[in-house]
């Protein structure tokens, strides 16, 4: 709250907030660089101030401030070394803690979303050892020595990966809440296709080849574990197809022409 106030005061100014300075230091940037330059590093230009206000902590979750630090009484305390996005995090957790809640509540990696907590919506999908996994149905204690990749770990620094860029280009999201899961599933699905893994609509289980070229129906079936209530499945399929095939996908909207309008009015 206090932080937010400070930041709001700084809107449009060149002064860095305390938090931003911290991140600045972590990035190894020289003091005195302008705020705008800094903002370019962490966000899209059009949302610069915005991004700085709200989006810094998840990327740099190793600041002590972002971790819960009050004393808690835990049931069946377990120690787990979690390797998340190429960083090792030693944690002491309540044994009941799901991987999802560990990411969100203990590591401030809130990019992974809680949509149902029952393994029914796919919003919490992360990659565990390269495979898609529902983090809400996974106990953190079972993830020792596993390689966990979340949405925050897919990008190359501030540069979105190919799937993230395709989602952006094809508007494969609206509210953004299922998006992390959709993208993680899509990234894993590319690998599944490469490895020749079967799906419910695979025509012949005896003849599965590697490097599958997935049909639209195959893509839709294999992405049906990720619910998007905003309803942009068609855009998600387009984004996936573009990365999968390497060919540009065209939008499926058009404007009626003057001729069409004239004909419609007069017929």
């Amino acid at each position: 709250m206090g932080e937010l106030e400070k930041r709001k005061k700084n809107t449009g100014s060149d002064n860095l907030t305390e938090d931003e300075k911290k991140i600045f230091d972590q990035l190894g940037l020289k003091n005195g660089a302008s705020r705008r330059k800094f903002l370019k590093l962490v966000s899209s230009a059009s949302l610069s101030v915005y991004a700085s206000s709200y989006a810094t902590s998840p990327l740099f979750a190793n600041t002590a401030k972002d971790l819960p630090h009050h004393q808690r009484v835990m049931l069946n305390e377990v120690k787990v070394n979690l390797r998340v996005n190429d960083r090792l995090k030693p944690l002491t957790l309540d044994s009941r803690t799901s991987l999802l809640d560990t990411l969100r509540e203990h590591l401030a990696l809130t990019g992974t979303k809680k949509g149902c907590d029952h393994g029914q919506c796919g919003a919490c999908t992360v990659l565990v050892d390269g495979k898609r996994k529902l983090s809400c149905l996974t106990l953190a204690a079972t993830c020792e020595d596993r390689e966990i990749t979340t949405i925050e770990g897919l990008a190359d620094g501030n540069e979105p990966n190919a799937m993230q860029q395709a989602f952006l280009k094809h508007d494969g999201f609206q509210c953004g809440y299922c998006t992390s899961g959709q993208i993680c599933s899509s990234v894993a699905l590319l690998e599944e296709a490469k490895n020749g893994e079967a799906s419910y609509v695979t025509e012949d289980f005896r003849k599965i080849e590697t490097n599958l070229r997935l049909s639209e129906e195959e893509i839709r079936e294999r992405m049906s574990g990720n619910i998007c209530r905003c309803g942009v499945y068609n855009n998600i399929v387009q984004a996936f197809k573009e990365v999968h095939s390497g060919n540009d996908e065209m939008p499926s909207w058009e404007f009626a022409t003057k001729e069409q309008m004239k004909k419609a009015k007069n017929s």
Partner: protein
Amino acid sequence: MTNTLKAPAVGAAINRVEGKLKVMGMAKYATEFSVENKVYAQGINSTIAKGEIIAIDTSEAEALAGVLAVITHKNAEKLNHFEEEMPLLATTTIAPVLQSPKVNYYGEYVGVVVAETFEQAQYAARLVKIEYKEDSDPTIQFDESKSKAIKPKGNSDYLRGDMEAGLAEADETLDATYITPIEHHHPMELHAIIASWDNGKVTAYSSQQMVNESTIAIADTFQIPKKDVRVITPFVGGGFGSKLNTERHVTLAIMASKMLARPVQMTVTRHQMFTNTGMRQHNAQRMQLGAKRDGSLTALSHDTLSHTSTYQEYQEPCGMISKMLYKVPNNQITYRLIPMNFQTPFAMRAPGEATGSFALESAMDEMAWKLKMDPVAFRIKNDTQIDLGADKPFSSRLLIECLRIGADKFGWENRPMQPRSKQEGNWHVGYGVSAASRKSPYLKSSAKVLLKLENEKVYATVQMDATDIGTGSYTIIAQTAAEYLGIPVEQVTVELGDSKFPITPGSGGSWGATSYCNGARAACQSAIATLKKNKNIGEDQEITVAKLLKQNKLEKFEAEGTAVPSEAFKEHSVFSFGANFSEVWVDKYTWMYRIKRMVNVGAAGTILNPKTAYGQIIGGLTMGVGMVLSEQTRVEPNFGNFITRSFADYHVPVSLDMANVEVIFLPEEDKIANEMGMKGIGELGITSVAASVANAIFNATGKRMRELPITPEKLIEAPVEPGVLA
């Protein structure tokens, strides 16, 4: 537009400006803010439909390590509560909770556990033992409770002409009832909040569609000044109407924070999303139509029976569409409500139109069949440029164009006039059409714009308390500011979702884009006008904002602006229109069906950004597909609980359910609607799907499906309509 010395920004299909944050997992939703020292709350729900709590044993829960409090009606803070019987539910309505031992429905909050961790709170909530005195006669079965129906207080019954006379002069009449079930919104982001009570001041990171309304509801519930309530919601993970209101978890979290002097995080579980947020109610809509042989309608009545809770009143305006869509001299609209032991229903995407259009547009198809007329031609025959219900001309209405252009694109001429006559292998194939319409309101909206000159470039920041619930508000507001300031959109920053910013009506009812963008426009225009006036520069003189700032010797400048609807707006009826065409394949053995493809045409004024507008249309279509295919909340007939309580049994559409969709926008600019010429598009898509698919199913099978969702078991049992060659 003045000062536009560059390519127009409005109308460009740019990517969402906040998109990068979303695809990288960096956008911050309600419970993702770093708030120190926070604790976790878990709601407890009633397990009877009607009655009273007689005893609560919290000892086991309280004894657990980490549990900080169990709050029930016995120790809850006293809040503002309803003075009158059954007040109308509005978006600013207070949300009292735990104020009495009375239980109004199964699943109502009867307590909340607060603990140091989420795991502890969840576990402890199960250990609270509650004893009830059950009332023997809860109202839980719709069909058996029709005699309890009341005329709503907020009565909007309507009559023009004479229904009896209209039916008497008709050559063909229809009397049919259409049933739609309880549905739930289910935005992907669970309703959630982090609340802090600090010396009588509230800070709420809360997922809300309407920021200002929410501050009012919170202030009124806790009886504190509105200025002491701060609501922050920069990203909302979907709403669809469910986050218009301030729901009771907000009250619970704030109350807990006040009692414990700690920030409290509370997330409504997916299970609780069925009972502790709104819902679309079960409707029975009786339609009576009369038409002459030439296709002209003589009479149309739309009588809706639905339900509300026992403690608040809400009526979905299903009949609204029948008042305005067609030229019919004799028209009757009525509403009746059964007070039932469920939570109060509330607006779900296109309340009234989504369900009302299923009834009206199915009935229109039935009448076209009786008249042996083409359903497109029948609708065109009854087109009107005057809204007879409001007695005002439409500001613009391109329904005929939508129907004709859509029919061409779809290949409507290949539709068999005779139902059940087109087959492909095992499949009955049918085509269906529905008209779409949705009111396009415009509400007072304010914005602040901060300008900054840096290296010859002007950077602008627009601030509004508006929300982006996935609708694209950030993007279209940025485009608007770029357009009216004449700067590239990359130089515009938009900040939303904070009650510290100027007041807007929030997101809902298809008014967001119109109200927000015109508010942003007004702020930009006000900035330019002031800068010009200071230097005696003529209003019409073209000059860049950069030069204006320089001439004013300013590096920074800020201005506020407010947009309000014009007199012309008030004198007209402002609606968006559309048409939906679908091709459905029904398996003749299993009666399972697939929606093969759809063509959707929309006329919604200026399209601000075709990319995000397309998203709004297909989003509406997808939710409409859910309505017709699968969505239904079922009530257990003995206990009154919902037995569909997860995504495993309440089926929202998934990727494989969706059809290939082609979307056509009509070029339209409606300057009566507002200065920017736009109309709403967020709800237009959903208003046509259910009828379009049901009508295609009739065309494919000869079976008239009058109850949603249309499932295979209903299709098997449905008779083939008289006159159809089986």
